[in-house]
Amino acid sequence: MSVFEPGLVHTPVTPFTHEQRIDYELFGKLIEFHLRNGADCLALPMHVGESVSLTDDEQRKLLAFAIKQVNGRVPVIAHTSDAGSAIAADRARHAQDLGAAAIVATTPYYWTPPPHMIIEHFAAIGAAVSIPFFVYNSPEEMPGTRITADLCLKLIDRLPNFAGVVDLSLDWQFMIELLTYAKRKREGFQLIAGTEHMVSASAIGASGLFSPLAGIAPKLIRRLYESCRKDQLLEARTAQEAVAALRQHLKTSGSLKAAARALGRDCGVPRPPLQALDAEATRALAAALEGTLRDEPRGW
């Protein structure tokens, strides 16, 4: 069986109207922007797309819209994390029915479950579908919950479609241990960098990248990605340092949307409880990013 390798995955924000409804007209334009600017694949709605602030119904409709808009030009990965295992599993099943290429999900929200409960949760989601299933490891966003290499190895035994880990821990010990042992159990098992700190992950053996910043600096991200994929790791360091500096400014949906607006792509403001950047912070952000973003695309 051939292995699904997502490559450089763009993770779009979710545009809202002034009334805080999903703005599908803008979302269509945003998807076209990502496809025109180098996305090998889309994953949505990720946390940066405010998945947690969308209702179950909205998440389903958003995914259906995206898959229809993309129309097979690139694969679409559906993010279906939830607090309840059955809710997340049902949404995953729906995503597969819509034609999603793969599912990605993180640990249950809020409950801080011990390892055996995490395994059951992932097993429930993964077993609901036959398409590849990726675990999203984001310990900073999910405090109190820890995904270990050992947990992943147990999950490989449980799920034939457990395809890899999207890692935001940036933890060398976890990543190396995972690939050292997981590849012995499942040859095509993948480590995918979950943020744009790709050089170390790639040295360790990561094959792909989930990038929220690709909506802001698609050229820079593509340059980093290509250097890493060609194993030109020393050469990748310059782009990596530029991307790291950019990340310092753009860690939240609010700042990403402010930066997008400054670049002529207004996607509205985040839903509560997230807050938009005020006018002064937006100006400061735009000024701080001006140099880095000089060569990046403006407007739609």
Binding site: L170, D171, W172, Q173, M175, I176, E177, L179, T180, H197, V199, S200, A201, A203, I204, G205, D231, L233, L234, A236, R237, Q240, E241, A244
Partner: protein, 304 residues
Amino acid sequence: MQNKFRGVMQSPITPLKDDYSLDLATFEKVLDFHIRTGAPAISWPHHKGESLSLTIAERKRFAEAAVKVVAGRVPVTIHVSALAVEDTMALARHAQAIGADGILAITPYFWTPTREAIHDYFVRLCTSIELPVLSYNSPSYLAGVEITGELMSRLIERLPNFVGVKEASFNSEKFLEISRVALSLRPSFALLTGVEFLLPSVPLGGVGSYSAAGSVCPNLCAALFDACMASEWARARELQYKMTRLWHLFKDQYPSSLKGGMVIMGRPVGPTRPPLPTATKERQAFIRKELEDMGILDSEPHGW
């Protein structure tokens, strides 16, 4: 100017007799073994050398022995971190007096000091001696206490003898930030990782590491370093994975399991001081099986 602290540097374990007293004769053999098998530098006593289970008098005595036995063949740094900062200061002055080539110091233990307290600590330490000082950053063992990039830059700007870091956050973002800041201010600054995590660190400016498993597998340490320096990433990946299996084996009850592994390699170094356990016969048998499975018994030196 290239910093003299680079490559996979060895931090010897501390050999003990059956009554847990220091075994000087075996310590001399350990030092010679490391130098003969290619260690570019020696540093003692790291946590792996049971630093915190030794008295200050014992640490001074073996520090003198280390400098004397190595006798200038490679640089020797003394790890001076102690629970009481006053002991650290005394160990640093002692290291200078006995002719060591540098010291290594972690952020203060236990008190979860503020960033300013860490700053003042390193300023006091570095201005009390003339030796080069390597800092030691280990946030996951010390409740998040860490030397951030910002703090690193203030220390480098202020202290001419603040020359490197043993970096043990093992985190892409933290390492890159320290590397970016430090190398822009002091291009010779030595970025070293705490365990042999060369593969993820060298592309970001790393120049070496301290070694966890070097008393068992010096050849693997050298091969991994060479592969990384030559940018042979595919080969480095295979070697790093192999090294990880060893780290996985030894980090459990570290350094007890490592001492157990040395028995298997024909280099017994005695028990481990409590509260750490000493590797049992069963544990040793398990370690032997793992080392056999990895091919270490064939590829690495046996005996002294």
